[in-house]
């Protein structure tokens, strides 16, 4: 497929007209590991994924998460976990994985037709 990309310039300056500097390659050996950040916005609520960041260790990850994700009182508690420890379901399996639930409508309260006189149910 021959796809032509329209050139949009704000935050998308095309390569062809851009000045190209020396390309010194970098190794990733010294990179700080990546962490996923979860924030509890309010006491009583779940921790929710907020984003990710790089940090040398867990303590630094929490401090950086505080600085980046809770500058406006967005949270009262932070979890961090190294991204490499997250296991995820495969999007290619989504159909096989989640499809079986779609025909089990009897799992929903609305499946049951009950008389109007029945109160508090």
């Amino acid at each position: 497929m021959n796809i032509q990309i329209r050139k949009f310039y704000y935050g998308d300056i095309p390569e062809d007209t851009a000045q190209v500097g020396s390309n010194h390659s970098t190794t990733n050996e010294n990179a700080w590991p990546l962490w996923e950040v979860f924030i509890r916005s309010k006491q009583g609520l779940d921790h929710k994924h907020a984003g990710s960041l790089h940090a040398a260790d867990a303590a630094m990850a929490i401090e950086n998460a505080r600085d980046v994700y809770t500058r406006r009182q967005e949270g009262v508690s932070i979890w961090v976990i190294e991204s490499k420890h997250v296991h995820a379901s495969n999007p290619d399996d989504a159909e096989m994985f989640y499809e079986p639930a779609s025909d089990k409508i009897y799992r929903h309260p609305t499946f049951y037709d009950l008389p109007d006189e029945l109160k508090h149910m």
């Binding site: 032509q4 310039y9 390309n23 970098t26 010294n30 990179a31 984003g51 040398a56 600085d67």
Partner: protein
């Protein structure tokens, strides 16, 4: 599935407004376009700290200083959200930073203009952040999930940037003659570069509308620019200042403001590296990165040492 089928089901998802997530199949060109756009956007946030950082130590009051620090800190956060989104497309942070520092990667040209007076802090917040916001509000609905989520977070924070800028200009506009002159001068210098932020006119882009078809963008450069002009022309009246364009005129038929010709030669000159501050900006970034190298190495060594200590204790 054949490549053709994959592309078709990909486009179906886009058409149905289903977001694309990092592990989903995507055309290579979609990945590349997003990676380039998101990383350039990230670089813009980071380099964008420099013109404003220039005035932190010289802010006229403690109040203005803490506001400016908070804004610049926000921009650092925006850079981080965006780098994280870009990393999900298979590039590394180190590679992106290296590309920025070598001059290979680009950032928004607006940040290659100097901030000469205090009034520039107001003009930048009002006009530059204002222009960025229009673009970013649109990008909240972009088709790539991590980019869209980063944009939602960023937009929540941006509104304060524009408001503090306008408020700061409002104070100047009610001040002494010298302050009013400084305010007008800053508007005069930032107006045209702000219009250029939206990029060349649509007629210059002869290629197909792939980015729109993929819903990476939902509005063209000219649509966004017009929206910006219409908005600012009204706002500048409240300041009692003017915009430096004699051709600015309400067009009854179009129901939009007409405006004068943009100096595209200047635009391309700055993009190509010959703006007033291109070299200075890259030098500042490289210096900060190089001088921070020992801190990064030390943090890693410390983390390593603590890990080993824990291991030895367990043994």
């Amino acid at each position: 599935m054949s490549l053709h089928d994959l592309e078709k089901s990909f486009q179906d998802k886009i058409d149905k407004e289903i977001k694309i997530e990092p592990k989903d199949w995507m055309p290579e060109a979609y990945r590349k376009t997003n990676l380039r756009q998101i990383s350039q956007h990230a670089h813009s946030e980071i380099v964008g700290m420099l013109p404003e950082g220039n005035w932190i130590t010289r802010a006229p009051s403690l109040k203005r200083k803490v506001i400016l620090i908070a804004k610049v800190q926000d921009e650092a956060g925006h850079g981080l959200y965006l780098y994280s989104a870009a990393e999900t497309l298979g590039s590394s942070r180190d590679q992106m930073i290296a590309d920025l520092h070598s001059g290979k990667a680009k950032y928004s040209s607006i940040f290659n203009y100097p901030t000469l007076t205090w009034a520039d802090m107001g003009a930048v917040g009002w006009l530059v952040d204002g222009a960025a916001i229009l673009n970013q509000v649109m990008l909240c609905r972009t088709s790539y999930g991590p980019y869209a989520r980063a944009m939602v977070r960023i937009c929540k924070e941006e509104s304060f940037h524009q408001r503090q800028g306008f408020e700061s200009l409002m104070v100047l506009s009610k001040g002494t003659q010298a302050q009013r002159d400084m305010c007008q001068d800053a508007i005069n210098r930032w107006w045209w570069p702000s219009l250029m932020m939206f990029g060349p006119t649509d007629s210059e882009s002869t290629n197909s509308d792939q980015s729109i078809k993929w819903k990476i963008k939902r509005k063209t450069n000219d649509e966004l620019r017009q929206q910006f002009v219409d908005m600012i022309v009204e706002q500048v009246k409240i300041l009692g200042m003017t915009l430096p364009d004699p051709d600015l005129k309400w067009n009854e038929e179009r129901q939009h403001y007409d405006f004068g010709n943009i100096n595209w030669e200047e635009f391309w000159n700055v993009v190509k590296g010959n703006g007033p501050c291109n070299k200075q900006r890259l030098a500042a970034r490289n210096k900060a990165h190089d001088e921070g190298a020992w801190v990064r190495a030390a943090a890693l060594a410390y983390a390593e040492k603590r890990k080993n200590k824990l291991k030895n204790k367990a043994a």
